[in-house]
C-alpha cells in the first residue's frame, strides 16, 4: 500500500521533510499544513490531501511531532501539530541529506 500514498511527482520521503519544515514557524492543523505547502510552493506542490494524514501519523509514531486538540481560526475543534526536539533534529538531518542529493543531481545535470 505504501507507494499509493505518495504523489508521483514528489521524491519519496520528501513529504515528511516538507511537513516538518512547515511546522518550524509554529503549530498548525492538518488543513493549514496542506494550504501552507500549496502557498509556499506557489501551487507547484499539490500534496495529495489523502496522503497528508498517513504521513502525519507516521511522524507522530516516530515522535517527531506532537498533536493537541485546540480551536482553529474558524472556531472549530482542530488537531494542532507541533515540532518536537527530536523532530527538529530529524528536520535538519533530512534537510542536509536532501540538499546533498539535490546538489548531486544538479552537478550531474550541469556537467553531463
Amino acid at each position: 500500500m505504501g507507494l499509493t500514498n505518495q504523489p508521483p511527482d514528489l521524491l519519496p520521503g520528501t513529504l515528511d521533510l516538507l511537513i516538518l519544515r512547515t511546522l518550524v514557524a509554529g503549530e498548525l492543523h492538518g488543513y493549514a499544513i496542506a494550504e501552507r505547502l500549496k502557498v509556499l510552493s506557489q501551487d507547484v506542490l499539490q500534496v495529495g490531501e489523502s496522503s497528508l494524514y498517513p504521513a502525519l501519523q507516521r511522524l507522530l509514531l516516530n515522535g517527531w511531532v506532537r498533536a493537541e486538540w485546540g480551536v482553529s481560526e474558524n472556531n472549530r475543534r482542530a488537531r494542532f501539530y507541533t515540532l518536537t526536539a527530536a523532530g527538529k533534529k530529524r528536520l535538519s538531518a533530512e534537510r542536509a541529506e536532501f540538499e546533498r542529493l539535490v546538489g548531486a543531481i544538479q552537478r550531474v545535470l550541469q556537467m553531463a
Binding site: 499509493t4 492538518g30 494524514y53 498517513p54 486538540w69 472549530r76
Partner: protein, 926 residues
C-alpha cells in the same frame, strides 16, 4: 523501543484515536469546502469538490490507521481471530486434533516431571555431584553395591587421595516405644561425620561428636517428621528420651538434635540416626571379612573425578587383597566400585525405564503430530479454493503461511493447556498408585546364633523421591518447548504445501482441486506408513509386557495366596530385659507360650481354618558363607535363604511336603533348648538343629544323598534335615526360588498367617482382639491380606505395563484416525471418477474392494516396517520381560493383525460411502 510503547499506547486507546482521525479528516474537508465557497463555487458543488480533493476518505483513514497498527501485530490478531473462527466452524476436526495433541503433550509433560524429580534434580545435600558411594562388587556371585566392613573402609580412607572424607551408614529396623502406637521405622547407624560430609547441619541441637561414637553413648538425632509427630515440634526436644526396641534390646536414647525438614538419608523410612558402635579392636581382624554391613559414602576432592577415584580404588583393592589373603573362597575382595550417589539412589534400571517411557511418550506425540499434519493436509486441499481466491486477491505466500501457522499455534497452545491439566491429574494418580521409595528391610528375625550373619536386604524396588514431584518452572519450560516443537512439526509441512497452491489451477478445477496430486498423495501415504510403524512398535512393546504380566500371574508360587491374612506381631520385651542380657531360654519360652496361645485363640475364631507363624513370609533372611554337607569339602552357598517357621505354617499356606515331615511342637522346644545352650556344649555334645529344606536346596546340595537325616554345617551350626518342602517364591513371583532352609523357631517379631474361609481383611479386628487378649503387650504392627502384599511386588511392573499399553492404544487410535483421514480424502477427491465407473457398470463391491485395497497399502507397509523395527527395539527392554522372548512371534502376529484390523475398519466407512456414490448426483454437482 519508544516507538513500540507509543504503538501500544495507541492500541490501548484505539477507539478514541480512531474517532479523532475521523474528526480531523472531516474538519479538513469542511475547511476545503468553505475555501471553495469563498472562491464563489455553489455550496453543493463545493461539498462534492472538497470530497474529491481529499480523495477516498476511507482509504485516507485506513492508511492513517495502518501507520499505527497494520503491522505484524494486527495481522497476528486478525489471523488469530480468523483461525479461531475456522477451528470453531470445524468443531469435529478441531476436537479430534485437540484430543490427540493434548494426550501426547500431557504424556510427555508427566513423564518429564518424573524424570526431572527423580533423576535430574540434584540431591538436597551440599555439592551433591561430588558425593559417591563406595561398595564392593561381588562379581562371582553377581551381586552389586555390596556393603563393606568398617576395617575395609578405614583402609580405603588411609590409602586413597581422591576423597576429602568418608562416612558409613547401616540401616536396621527398630520400633519406637511409648505413645499410643509403636512406630516401626528404620534406624540408621551412621559414623559421626556423616552429616558434615553431606553438608547438612541439624536444625535444632547439634550433630554427633567423635567421642560419642567411641564411647558408644546412647544418643540419637531424629528426623523432622518424627520430631513433629512424637514431640509436637517442641524446641526443648534436645535432652529428651526416645525408647527404642532394637532387636535384642530395649534402650533409652537421648535426643541431641533434629534434622531439617526435607532431609532424608538414605531414604524417608530412616527416622532417626545414631552413632555406629566402634568395634573393639580384638575382634576386628575377623570382621575384616565377615562384618560387611556398612554402606560407605564419600566426598570427592575438588578436581577429582569418579573415573580417577575408580582407578585408584582398583589399585587399592589389589594391594589389600595381597595384604589380607582371604580364607573364604566366596569372599568378594576389597575392590570398591565408585558410583555417584544419585545413581545409587535411583538405580540404573529405574532411570532406564523412565527414559524408555519418555521415548514412548515422544513417539506418541510424534504420531499425534503426524496425524494432525495429515488432517491439516486433507483439510487444506479442501480449502485450496479459499486460498486460491485469497492469493489471487493479493495475499502473499508469507501471509498465507503465517495465517496457517497461527491456526496451528492456536491448536497447539490449547492442546498444551489441556495437556498440562492432564499431566497434573496423571501425576497425582501416579503418586497414589506407585509404591513409595526404598522399603526398609522388615526382617528383624534373630539369627540362629549370633555367629551366623543374617542379612536382610530390601527386595522391593520402588521409585525414590516420587512424592516430591511437582510441576515446576523447568517442567513448564519443557511444556512450552514441546508445544512450540509440536506446532512447528505438524504445522509447517501442510502450511508450506497449501501456500504453494497455484490459484489459476485451483479456481479452474472446481470444488476439490488437488495440486500436484501425486506428490500430495505420496506425502499422505508416507505419514500413514510412519504412524502405523510407530503404533506397531508401541503395541509390540506393550504386548510383550502384557504377556510377561500374564506369565508372572500364572507362575506357581509354591503356596496358596488367596484367603490368607498376614498379621505382624511383636511381643514387646519385658521391661527387665536389658542389652546385657540378650536371648535367654526363659524369655524365648515365654515368647513361645505367647505365640502358642495366640495361635490357639486366633484358630478358634469363626471363619479361621488354619494358623501358622514365621518371621516374614515375603522378605527373606539370607545366610552367606559356605556349607559343608556330610563332612564333604565346603561349598560356597552364594545366596542361601532362611526363615524361622513355627508349627502349622506350611499347612496354612498349603506348601506341599515332598519328603519327611513338617515341624512339630517338639522341634520348637528342641530349638529353644539349643538357643539357650552354650556353643561349646553344643559342639562337645554333637547336638544338631532340626531344619526343613526346600527342593532347590536338595537339588543343589543333597542331590546324591538321602535328604532326610542328612547333616550339613553352616558356619558353626550343624543342621539336620527332617523334611523337604516344595519351593516358595517368597520374593514375588518374578524371582525364582533359591535354596533355603527353615528353622523351628519363633522370633520376637513374627508374622502370623491365617487361612480364612471368607474375606481375610474382615477378620483383622477380631484377630487383633484375640492377640491382645493373650498378652496386652503383644503389638499388632500390621494386618494385610497376602494377595495384597503380593500385589505390592508387582505394582511398579503393572504401572509400567499399563502406561505403555495406554500409549500403544493411543498410537493405535491415532493410526486409525490417520488411515481414515487419508482414505476419506481420496474418496472425495475421486468422487467424479468413481461416479463414472459406476455409471459405466462397475458394481458397488468392485468399488468397495478397490478403495479398501488401495487404502490398505500404506498401513500394511507400515506394519511390516514396524515389525522389523520392533524385533530390534524390543531387545532394549529384554530385562523387563518375564519368560518371553523379545521377538515372540505370537505377540508380533497379534500386533500385526490388530493394526491391520484397525486399518480395515478405518477404510470401511469411506469405502462404503464410495460404493454408494450416486453417479447422476456426483457428476451433476460439478
Amino acid at each position: 523501543m519508544l516507538k513500540l510503547i507509543r504503538r501500544l499506547r495507541y492500541l490501548l486507546r484505539l477507539q478514541n484515536v480512531e474517532a479523532d482521525l475521523r474528526e480531523e479528516l472531516e474538519l479538513h474537508r469542511a475547511e476545503r469546502q468553505q475555501q471553495l465557497e469563498r472562491e464563489g463555487i455553489p455550496a453543493s458543488e463545493a461539498a462534492l469538490a472538497s470530497r474529491r480533493a481529499l480523495g477516498n476518505l476511507t482509504l485516507a483513514y485506513e492508511d492513517s490507521r495502518a501507520v499505527w497498527v497494520a503491522s505484524w501485530l494486527e495481522r497476528l490478531l486478525q489471523d488469530f481471530r480468523y483461525g479461531c473462527r475456522g477451528l470453531v466452524a470445524n468443531a469435529g476436526f478441531s476436537c479430534l486434533v485437540l484430543v490427540a495433541l493434548s494426550l501426547g503433550i500431557g504424556a510427555n509433560i508427566a513423564i518429564f516431571s518424573v524424570i526431572r524429580t527423580v533423576i535430574l534434580r540434584p540431591l538436597p545435600f551440599a555439592d551433591p555431584s561430588r558425593l559417591v558411594m563406595l561398595s564392593t562388587d561381588d562379581v562371582k556371585r553377581g551381586l552389586h553395591e555390596e556393603p563393606a566392613s568398617l576395617l575395609t573402609m578405614e583402609d580405603w580412607r588411609a590409602q586413597s587421595h581422591h576423597f576429602s572424607g568418608m562416612a558409613v551408614f547401616r540401616g536396621e529396623p527398630a520400633v519406637i516405644l511409648g505413645g499410643d502406637t509403636p512406630d516401626r521405622v528404620l534406624a540408621e547407624f551412621v559414623s559421626f561425620n556423616l552429616f558434615s560430609l553431606l553438608g547438612v547441619a541439624p536444625t535444632v541441637g547439634r550433630s554427633f561428636s567423635e567421642q560419642e561414637q567411641r564411647s558408644g553413648e546412647p544418643v540419637v538425632i531424629v528426623s523432622y517428621g518424627l520430631w513433629q509427630r512424637r514431640f509436637g515440634g517442641s524446641p526443648d526436644v534436645v535432652g529428651k528420651a526416645l525408647t527404642l526396641d532394637q532387636r535384642t534390646s530395649v534402650q533409652q536414647f537421648r535426643i541431641v538434635g533434629v534434622m531439617p525438614s526435607g532431609f532424608s538419608f538414605p531414604n524417608r523410612d530412616a527416622q532417626f540416626w545414631r552413632p555406629i558402635v566402634d568395634l573393639d579392636r580384638q575382634h576386628e581382624e575377623r570382621f575384616r571379612f565377615v562384618g560387611r554391613s556398612y554402606n560407605v559414602v564419600a566426598r570427592l576432592q575438588p578436581g577429582s573425578t569418579v573415573r580417577d577415584a575408580q582407578s585408584e580404588m582398583i589399585a587399592i583393592g589389589r594391594s589389600l587383597e595381597a595384604l589380607y589373603p582371604a580364607t573364604d573362597p566366596t569372599f568378594p575382595g576389597f575392590t570398591a566400585s565408585v558410583v555417584p550417589l544419585a545413581d545409587y539412589f535411583t538405580g540404573r534400571p529405574t532411570q532406564a525405564a523412565l527414559w524408555i517411557l519418555l521415548a514412548a511418550a515422544g513417539l506418541v506425540l510424534l504420531t499425534a503430530c503426524v496425524n494432525v499434519a495429515n488432517l491439516l493436509l486433507a483439510r487444506g486441499t479442501a480449502r485450496s479454493r479459499e486460498f486460491a481466491i485469497r492469493s489471487s486477491l493479493g495475499a502473499g505466500r508469507v501471509r498465507l503461511l503465517g495465517q496457517l501457522l497461527t491456526e496451528t499455534s492456536v491448536l497447539a497452545v490449547a492442546a498444551a493447556v489441556c495437556g498440562l491439566m492432564l499431566a497434573g491429574a496423571a501425576l497425582r494418580a501416579l503418586i497414589a498408585l506407585a509404591p513409595p521409595g526404598i522399603y526398609p528391610s522388615t526382617n528383624s528375625s534373630y539369627a540362629l546364633t549370633d555367629s551366623v550373619r543374617v542379612l536382610a536386604r530390601s527386595s522391593q524396588p520402588g521409585i525414590p523421591r516420587l512424592d516430591e514431584i511437582s510441576l515446576d518452572p523447568v517442567v513448564l519450560a519443557f511444556a512450552v518447548a514441546v508445544t512450540i516443537a509440536t506446532a512447528l512439526l505438524f504445522g509447517v509441512l501442510p502450511a508450506w504445501r497449501i501456500s504453494h497452491v497455484d490459484p489459476i489451477d485451483a479456481l479452474k478445477g472446481g470444488a476439490t482441486v488437488p495440486v500436484r496430486t501425486r506428490m500430495r498423495r505420496r506425502v499422505g501415504s508416507l505419514l500413514v506408513v510412519v504412524q502405523c510403524a510407530l503404533a506397531v512398535l508401541l503395541l509390540s512393546g506393550s504386548g510383550l509386557l502384557i504377556r510377561s504380566l500374564s506369565n508372572i500371574r500364572s507362575v506357581n508360587q509354591g503356596f496358596r495366596s488367596d484367603h490368607v491374612l498376614l498379621v505382624r506381631v511383636s511381643l514387646a520385651p519385658s521391661a527387665q530385659r536389658t542389652s546385657a542380657d540378650p536371648v535367654r531360654g526363659a524369655d524365648v519360652l515365654a515368647r513361645r507360650e505367647f505365640y502358642k496361645q495366640a495361635i490357639e485363640r486366633v484358630g478358634s475364631l469363626p471363619g479361621v481354618q488354619r494358623v501358622g507363624v514365621l518371621t516374614d513370609l515375603l522378605v527373606r533372611g539370607y545366610v552367606t558363607g559356605s556349607i559343608v554337607v556330610n563332612e564333604r569339602p565346603a561349598v560356597p552357598v552364594g545366596t542361601l535363604g532362611f526363615a524361622n517357621v513355627g508349627p502349622g505354617l506350611f499347612e496354612t499356606l498349603e506348601v506341599p511336603l515332598v519328603r519327611g515331615r513338617f515341624f512339630s511342637d517338639d522341634d520348637v522346644l528342641t530349638q529353644i533348648r539349643l538357643v539357650s545352650t552354650d556353643l561349646d556344649q553344643i559342639r562337645s555334645r554333637n547336638l544338631t538343629w532340626p531344619v526343613i529344606v526346600n527342593e532347590t536346596f536338595v537339588r543343589r546340595f543333597l542331590a546324591d544323598v538321602d535328604p532326610i537325616s542328612s547333616r550339613f554345617r553352616v558356619d558353626r551350626d550343624v543342621l539336620r534335615v527332617v523334611g523337604v518342602v516344595g519351593d516358595m517364591r517368597r520374593e514375588g513371583p518374578e524371582r525364582s526360588a533359591v535354596a533355603e532352609f527353615f528353622s523351628p523357631y519363633i522370633g520376637q517379631t513374627s508374622e502370623i498367617a491365617i487361612r480364612t474361609s471368607s474375606d481375610p481383611l474382615a477378620l483383622a479386628v477380631a484377630v487383633r482382639g484375640a492377640i491382645r487378649s493373650v498378652n496386652p503387650q503383644g503389638m499388632v504392627l500390621s494386618a494385610t491380606s497376602l494377595d495384597r502384599r503380593l500385589a505390592e511386588f508387582g505394582a511398579p511392573r503393572q504401572a509400567q505395563t499399563w502406561l505403555l499399553t495406554a500409549f500403544a492404544a493411543l498410537a493405535l487410535t491415532l493410526a486409525a484416525i490417520g488411515i481414515y483421514g487419508i482414505v476419506r480424502y481420496r474418496v472425495s477427491e475421486r468422487r467424479r471418477e468413481i461416479a463414472i465407473r459406476i455409471a459405466i457398470g462397475a458394481g458397488a463391491s468392485d468399488v468397495f474392494c478397490e478403495v479398501v485395497g488401495r487404502g490398505m497399502t500404506a498401513p500394511l507397509l507400515g506394519v511390516a516396517i514396524g515389525l522389523v523395527g520392533a524385533s530390534w527395539v524390543t531387545q532394549v527392554m529384554s530385562h523387563l520381560l518375564f519368560e518371553i522372548s523379545p521377538t515372540d512371534p505370537t505377540t508380533f502376529a497379534v500386533v500385526g493383525g490388530a493394526l491391520a484390523a484397525a486399518g480395515l475398519l478405518a477404510c470401511w466407512i469411506p469405502a462404503r460411502r464410495a460404493s454408494h456414490v450416486d453417479p447422476i448426483e456426483a457428476l451433476r454437482c460439478e
